[in-house]
Amino acid sequence: MPNKKMDRRGFLVSAAAVLAAPAVLRAQQVPAKPDRLIVNASGGDMGNAVLDAYGQVFTERTGIPVEMTSPHDLGKLRAMVESGNVEWDVTEISGDDGRIAVERGLLEPIDESIVDLSAYPAEARDPYLLTTSVYSTVLAYRSDVFTDAKPRTWADFWDVEAFPGRRSLGGGPEDNLEFALLADGVQLAELYPLDVDRAFRKLDEIRPHITAWWDSGAQHVQMLVDQEVVLSSAWNGRIFNAVGKGHPLEISWDGSSLHRAYFAIPRGAPNLHWSQQFLAAMTDPQAQATFANQLVSPGLNPRAAEYVDPTLAPYLPTTPENMQVSFWQDDLWWSQHMAEIKNRWQRWILG
């Protein structure tokens, strides 16, 4: 496809820019400050936490106010970049969307002379994507329904006799294929590359027991709270909040799917230097702790742990005991297979 060729060209151009960038920056004085920095992320709790934690640090450092927009959308990012009309200075671009954006050359490289990643573990360092936090898709259930035997694994989720009740799963193939394979006995370490056929076969089993395939974080919480369903896959932060409001919900970390929330700079962003500065603020350990305390979604700066509320440890996906029974969702694998699996999923959903 000619399209792909063009993207590759775009990629080369930005690669050249990477090499040239530090020299250019050094040669110049600090560029003029914009009147505000536009940061795009998921709305709701996420947006608020970004503003509270990182926006504040950034504004303190630079004096530039931050304005949040939402939602993050790969299609929109591409449209902006390709039309040369980039409105976002920084955007969240999580999971496989981030990988696709990198592959398509939609992002500016991270300037490590500004964004200090030296303390980060090697697997968390990427030339384009800054991992700002980690969240997990977990198994959640009504603790007032399952009082004696509690569902723990995805095999339990699939076991409708031992754990009867209506269920819900996410409305896309992501996570669901992994959960199905885990339920079918695949080991955490052997998940990828996914055996797609086997996963769909296993999904066939659970399908009649699914009330709804949820579309958003708000929806799965709503359905659990309303007892529309008693078991669901769910985002750990959302359940944490619901429990805080007194709803009888519990989660199991067993077989939970770890996700990286990525932030990045759209290619051609108008205030590149300040965008880099914002990413730098996002690596600040104290800011990361503020964020983690709000959303139980910690960052990857090891020093952040010092500032996170110690009582939250059991609820963080990155706590070693939780991490041990979880798997990192493989963004790269997903980004490469998305089109085909999405199509198959939609066909499967229609039955």
Binding site: M1, P2, N3, D73, L74, G75, K76, R78, D97, I100, R104, R166, G171, T211, A212, W213, W214, D215, S216, A218, Q219, Q222, M223, D226, Q227, E228, M338, A339, K342, N343, Q346, R347, I349, L350
Partner: protein, 290 residues
């Protein structure tokens, strides 16, 4: 007959001449500004879209869309839901509009406000309200169970019925208002005349009132149908992820898979289908008489 009548008929001004006095050139000129604006903000992007869909110089995306049973099924399902929603909207809206058109002015204003109420809340809020209302433990099911009408909760949402219900609720005003307007325009004297000429209430309705309000039905049906075709949030939430509409597929292609030529091809297909549907509605409800 006397010759007086004949000459007077001839003396009357022929209809054709009256129409010819407004020259076609002048009236076309009046359309120019609209053409310019529409041309720029509507047709250019549409052309762009069409161009994008054959970006690869081939009709590959179209072959893919029409060759894959998934897309054919989704297009079918989309039309089915839009059609059923339009039908239900019509059945609900017509009597409602009739009531509004014939009631006292005060009650009419109240009804208008109530009808327009959905416009005042966001789709998302409305959809969540439906979830609360229609869920297994929702208000309706609890009322029915508590009063012993049913033993098991009814599956009111997370299926096609839920999507149709949400769509109907959301789009009802678009059906009511044009029909209401058409009814207000019906000359009451025509109904009296029909009655005097021997028409029973039923025949007055079917021979006079219904045909005279057909234009409103057409406008309402076209609006509702087209808006239902492009519904997005309602099917995703109230359909329980099971009901996929064409817009959901387009969204996947635009924002998750980034196959824009394919998304453009799907959009062009739905656009063509919409134009065909619109023309059909237009033909069925056309006012031939003026």
């Amino acid at each position: 007959m006397t010759s007086t009548a004949f000459t007077s008929a001839a003396a009357e001004r022929p209809f054709g001449r009256m129409m010819a006095s407004a020259t076609p050139g002048r009236s076309l000129l009046l359309l120019l500004p609209a053409f310019l604006v529409l041309g720029v903000i509507l047709f250019m992007p549409l052309l762009d879209l069409a161009a994008l869909s054959i970006d690869g110089g081939s009709f590959g995306p179209y072959v893919k869309a029409l060759g894959d049973p998934l897309y054919v099924r989704v297009i079918g399902q989309t039309f089915q839901i839009a059609l059923i929603s339009t039908g239900i909207c019509l059945i609900l809206a017509y009597p409602l509009a009739y009531f509004m058109a014939t009631t006292s002015p005060r009650l009419r204003i109240l009804c208008l406000l109530l009808v327009a109420l959905p416009f005042w809340t966001s789709v998302l809020v409305r959809t969540y309200a439906w979830m609360v209302l229609l869920g297994r433990n929702g208000i309706i099911n609890r009322l029915l169970i508590d009063n012993g009408f049913i033993a098991e909760p009814l599956p009111l949402i997370y299926n096609k019925a839920g999507v149709i219900l949400g769509t109907v609720y959301y789009l009802l005003p678009f059906m009511v208002l044009p029909i209401f307007a058409a009814m207000m325009r019906v000359d009451r004297q025509l109904l009296l005349a029909a009655e005097g000429l021997g028409a029973s209430a039923v025949r007055r309705f079917f021979s006079i009132f219904l045909p005279l309000t057909l234009g409103g039905i057409g406008a309402g049906a076209a609006l509702v149908f087209i808006l239902a075709l492009s519904a997005f949030i309602t099917p995703a939430l109230l359909g329980g992820g099971r009901v996929i509409m064409i817009t959901n597929l387009i969204y996947t292609q635009v924002s998750q898979v980034l196959d824009w030529p394919f998304a453009a091809a799907l959009s062009v297909l739905i656009l063509v289908a919409t134009i065909v549907a619109y023309s059909c509605i237009g033909l069925l409800t056309r006012r031939r008489w003026n």
